[in-house]
């Protein structure tokens, strides 16, 4: 099995485990699902550090976009806490 297939399978399995576990515990906040999926993506991409340079560049670009989404969620949560809503 090629390293790319292993990477994709790791991502799919991790997402399945995260979504199933959160659903099992009755979690109903979509932002939590989103942030945990993004963290899993960033962690797994970091573990596959030996992918070829072009693949890493492309994944880093996507990672930046996803991280920006993650930061938006964090900022919204902080604003919510500070405004006391």
């Amino acid at each position: 099995m090629s390293v790319y297939n292993r990477y994709i399978i790791s991502l799919v399995l991790t997402s399945c485990v995260i979504n199933t576990a959160l659903a099992f515990f009755g979690q109903n906040d979509l932002t939590l699902y989103f942030t945990l999926n993004i963290i899993a993506f960033l962690a797994i991409t970091l573990l596959y550090v030996y992918l070829n340079p072009r693949a890493r560049r492309a994944l880093n670009t996507i990672g930046v976009v996803f991280f920006a989404g993650f930061m938006v969620v964090v900022v919204l949560k902080i604003t919510e806490i500070l405004s006391g809503k």
Partner: protein
């Protein structure tokens, strides 16, 4: 094209996720199902990114070029009747490009020349008049350029560089383990897709995987290296490299 399945899979996942997420969230009012849609979008984008990084050349074209180069070198070695094992030299002794030397004389104690070995086909590498060899470029010589930084002289650094080249860049093995002992480097390659064959070329220069590992080890240790032993069994390639003084 190898990239096509990734692209199709990625587009399908993104499209499915983009349709499924709003329906699950607003119509069905199920957050877990909407999360599944979001995950599909994330994985879909990842697949599309990977599709764009796959090689432009088909594996068959790459194999054709590898075989052409190997058969030309093999013809030269066979015509000259060379049976000695090649010595892999670090780039510093060959003016920036690591190469392998196939000595013309039988194995013996080598007294290396102090200056750089000239960049020619037939070269003198030792102090003795009979210390002549043929300098050839091997798959390992080319792969050294793919390393972002030169590995250091430890087993961990050699293993990291070998894993990067064999698993990440070339995708021809599953994992690499390196043990560095006194003047010997023991390497085990798991899931190797280019095995050892008992042919003249491999007996001289080693298999392409052994050649790459010898070139990396030579560069890392800054010393000449010879492939001492290579065995291939059920996808496991066991290679022993000898570090020459």
């Amino acid at each position: 094209m190898r990239s096509r399945p990734y692209k199709l899979f990625g587009i399908a996942l993104c499209a499915a996720g983009a349709i499924f997420t709003p329906i699950s969230y607003f119509v069905i009012a199920s957050v877990p199902l909407a999360a599944v849609g979001l995950s599909a979008i994330i994985i879909g984008f990842t697949c599309i990114a990977l599709a764009n990084t796959r090689p432009y050349l088909s594996p068959e074209a790459c194999q054709l070029m590898l075989r052409t180069g190997m058969e030309n070198t093999a013809a030269l070695i066979e015509e000259l009747g060379l049976r000695n094992r090649a010595i892999y030299l670090p780039s510093k002794t060959r003016g920036g490009r690591p190469q392998a030397l196939i000595p013309l004389a039988e194995d013996r104690q080598i007294q290396w020349v102090k200056e750089n070995i000239p960049g020619r086909l037939i070269v003198r590498y030792g102090r003795d008049a009979d210390d002549m060899a043929i300098a050839v470029t091997t798959p390992g010589s080319i792969n050294i350029d793919m390393l972002e930084t030169k590995p250091g002289p430890t087993a961990d650094e050699i293993q990291a560089a070998a894993t990067y080249i064999l698993v990440g860049v070339l995708d021809i093995a599953r994992s690499v383990n390196v043990n560095l002992a006194d003047r010997q480097v023991g390497i085990e390659v798991n899931g190797a897709r280019l095995g050892y064959e008992d042919i003249w070329y491999y007996r001289c220069l080693g298999s392409p995987i052994a050649s790459i590992l010898a070139a990396i080890s030579s560069e890392a240790l800054g010393k000449p290296i010879r492939i001492k032993e290579e065995t291939f069994n059920k996808g496991k390639d066991h290679i022993v490299l000898e570090v020459l003084p």
